[in-house]
């Protein structure tokens, strides 16, 4: 798939492309459908590609089985600029959700189990931090001055969580320290009462670490993870969601990225009824680089949503976003929204974001919305691509006609598709575990 990066752009450009792909149930639009002429379509793309040029519009591709629509068919509350979204610690600053808000319009509020309405007074899931001995782990009260220094809630659930947590976990990688081994943060839920949780990860200047947030069990959880990547620090944060089937998890994971820092954020969402992550990277000084990866695999009935923000507020920073999702089963739903903001001051920015989805069965739905907002023309490059393809009977036939058994054929496709992201974790044991989890997902789909 060809991707495009463009340098010649004009200021004040907003690019949006929204793609909704629905695995059709009636089989009408399927490849190889009767055409009456005996000629099947000569070229059948595995993917529908959405790539955009700057400045540019939308290149609608009305291909087989794909639906595409633009903003405006639901009365969505418009937002002038992503940079102007309300940020506040005060819950009262966020009106009660209706589902029509731009940032909640894909989320089935009914399935939030009260996270957006109730007091989050349940018991927070247990946290156990293991791994690197030279990393400091503290449990602190609400009053700790460090809390809230990296992140300010950007939505109602996040603000509710901020106001409800009783104690927080603070993980500090001391200055110039290389963590010896991965920091494994096991978050284990055992109740489904609505609860709040707060975690602060601080990689001090010139430190280096990999922190894994490993979520499992049963929860109804509103979570804030704030992350500080100090000057010259190198931090990887991996957030793995392998919740039980009934879990509801809404997590804001905001990072402030310092001068010349390297920050990598990896999301892996596999288990849970509804998982909604809002990871963001905010550049606070020049010379930093951010990579944000995501992998999600939605089964029947699962809602997996990720909304990203990369905020280029300062000059000469670089960001790369790559999210990949697979879907199988009726009412599997994934949402990816990638907001990239290049502010007026952010000259020399270099950014590219990609989202790819692979629909494996009928009845699944994937929404993909890349948004690029550009306020300066003096940048290195900015681009985005979004593509959704389906794996259908014709793909399967092709692989099987080469001797590959059905199950192996599906594994081949999904593995090939998702490995790119798994490989980014660089924690071999975890990579292996997640590859196995993906295989299990496949097997569970009765494929």
């Amino acid at each position: 798939m060809a991707e495009t990066t463009h340098t010649e752009i004009s200021p004040d450009t907003t690019l949006e492309g929204e793609v909704t792909a629905i695995g059709d149930l009636d089989g009408k639009a399927r490849i190889g459908a009767p055409s009456g002429t005996g000629e099947r379509p000569a070229a059948i793309d595995g993917f529908t590609e959405e790539g955009e040029s700057l400045p540019g519009g939308d290149d609608g591709t009305g291909q087989l089985g794909f639906k595409k629509h633009s903003h405006g068919n639901a009365p969505v509350v418009p937002e002038a600029s992503r940079g102007e979204r309300r940020r506040s610690f005060d819950l009262a600053d966020f009106p009660t959700l209706t589902g029509l808000e731009e940032d909640w319009r894909f989320t089935p509020l009914k399935r939030l189990r009260g996270l957006h309405t109730d007091a989050l007074s349940g018991t927070a899931p247990g946290i156990e931090v293991g791994g690197a001995g030279n990393v400091t782990v503290e449990t602190v009260g609400r009053g700790d001055a460090r809390l809230g220094s990296a992140a300010t809630p950007e939505d109602r659930v996040s603000a509710a969580a901020w106001n409800a947590f009783t104690e927080a976990t603070v993980i500090t990688i001391p200055k110039e320290t290389v963590a010896d081994g991965e920091v494994m943060v096991k978050v284990t839920g055992s109740t489904s009462e609505a609860a709040a949780q707060h975690i602060l990860i601080h990689a001090e200047a010139f430190s280096k670490a990999v922190v894994v947030l490993d979520h499992s069990g049963s929860v109804t959880l509103a979570q804030n993870v704030e992350i500080i990547v100090g000057d010259g620090a190198q931090l990887t944060v991996v957030s793995v969601q392998e919740w039980d089937d009934d879990a509801v998890h809404v997590s804001s994971q905001q990072a402030k990225v310092g001068r010349d820092a390297r920050y990598k954020h990896v999301v892996v969402s596999l288990g849970g009824d509804l998982v909604r992550l809002t990871p963001s990277s905010i550049f606070t000084a020049t010379g930093a680089e951010v990579e944000m990866y995501g992998l999600y695999f939605a089964d029947a009935g699962q809602h997996l949503e990720q909304r990203l923000l990369v905020d280029h507020a300062v000059p000469n920073c670089k960001s790369r976003v790559t999210y990949k999702g697979a879907l199988q089963g009726v009412d599997a739903h994934t949402v990816w929204v990638g907001d990239v903001l290049i502010r007026k001051a952010a000259e020399g920015t270099d950014t590219y974001e990609t989202n790819r989805n692979l629909i494996l069965t009928d009845g699944a739905r994937s929404d993909s919305v890349p948004n690029l907002e550009i306020e300066t023309g003096l940048i290195e490059g900015a681009g985005h691509a979004s593509a959704t393809g389906r794996f259908d009977d014709e793909h399967l036939f092709y692989l099987m006609a080469r001797g590959i058994p059905e199950k192996a054929a599906r594994r081949l496709v999904v593995r090939g598709f998702l490995t790119e992201v798994i490989q980014q974790i660089k924690v071999p044991a975890l990579e292996e575990r997640l590859s196995e989890s993906v295989e299990r997902e496949l097997a569970a789909g009765n494929l």
């Binding site: 798939m1 060809a2 490849i31 190889g32 009767p34 002429t37 005996g38 000629e39 099947r40 379509p41 000569a42 070229a43 059948i44 793309d45 595995g46 993917f47 692979l358 393809g389 794996f391 009977d393 014709e394 793909h395 036939f397 092709y398 692989l399 099987m400 006609a401 080469r402 001797g403 590959i404 058994p405 059905e406 192996a408 081949l412 496709v413 999904v414 090939g416 598709f417």
Partner: protein, 255 residues
């Protein structure tokens, strides 16, 4: 010698308008070492025959049989047929998302042979075969057929033919959409494999052009779902001059 025998085959498909019969009694026997050309007008059922042999689920066999040295092919799944030695070079090869050519070729070879090919030889074989078919080396890292031109897709089908070494190759209009140079390259590939004497070839084509490069032993004219006439290579020459009109007119009268 192995024999692929098709006997009195009736095939239909289910459409929105109901069940439509397409093949109406096809009988054909191919032995390894032989090349059979099937020629016929658009819509006569050539691809239906090819896809039915390969086991495409859309086609329903109403009666008749397909056997490979007496083994019932129709009771085999698609992958079993491939492992039994049947290969279909498709008229419209699909793009498979997420799978690189390298990974695909190795996985298929492993499935076909029941064991992984020796890595060193395999890499070399792939490289050589790609070079012979003038396929750029960087195609190995691209996803299967993704963004390949029509001609490139056809070459990649023949690449697989050469690497997988089937007992029977069914080439469904491999020649269509190829320019003269590509046609030569692709034909050479088929001839290379055929000359080893262990493969039977069923060459489906609309035009006689490819028969200048791949010499058939037998020619079958396919019209309205059955074989209307059979003969040696000279039949192709006649078709070249007269076209299919004679047959289509005749089948219209019969119908």
């Amino acid at each position: 010698m192995t024999t692929l025998a098709i006997k009195d085959l009736y095939v239909s498909i289910d459409t929105e308008q109901g069940n439509v019969p397409i093949l109406k009694g096809v009988t054909l026997t191919i032995n390894t070492g032989e090349t059979h050309a099937i020629m016929g007008p658009n819509g006569s059922g050539k691809s239906t025959l090819a896809s039915t042999i390969a086991g495409h689920p859309r086609y329903k066999v109403d009666s008749g049989s397909i056997t490979l040295d007496g083994e019932d092919v129709l009771s085999m799944s698609v992958d079993e047929r491939a492992r039994a030695g049947l290969f279909l070079a498709m008229q419209y090869p699909v793009e498979v998302p997420g799978v690189t050519m390298t990974n695909f070729l190795r996985t298929a070879k492993t499935a076909l042979d029941g064991e992984a090919p020796s890595l060193r030889h395999w890499t070399k074989d792939v490289k050589t075969a790609m070079a012979q078919l003038r396929i750029d080396a960087d195609f190995a890292q691209r996803n299967v057929n993704e963004g390949f031109s029509g001609g490139e897709k056809k070459r990649v089908e023949i690449l697989q033919l050469e690497l997988f070494r089937p007992k029977f190759a069914i080439l469904d209009e491999t020649d269509s959409g190829l320019d003269v140079d590509a046609l030569k390259v692709v034909s050479e590939g088929v001839n290379r494999e055929h000359s080893k004497g262990e493969m039977g070839t069923l060459l489906i084509t609309h035009y006689t052009r490819i028969l200048r490069y791949i010499k058939p032993d037998f020619v079958h004219v396919f019209v309205a779902g059955r074989i209307a006439e059979e003969g040696g290579p000279e039949l192709a020459d006649r078709l070249e001059e007269e076209g299919y009109d004679r047959f289509t007119a005749q089948s219209a009268v019969e119908a």
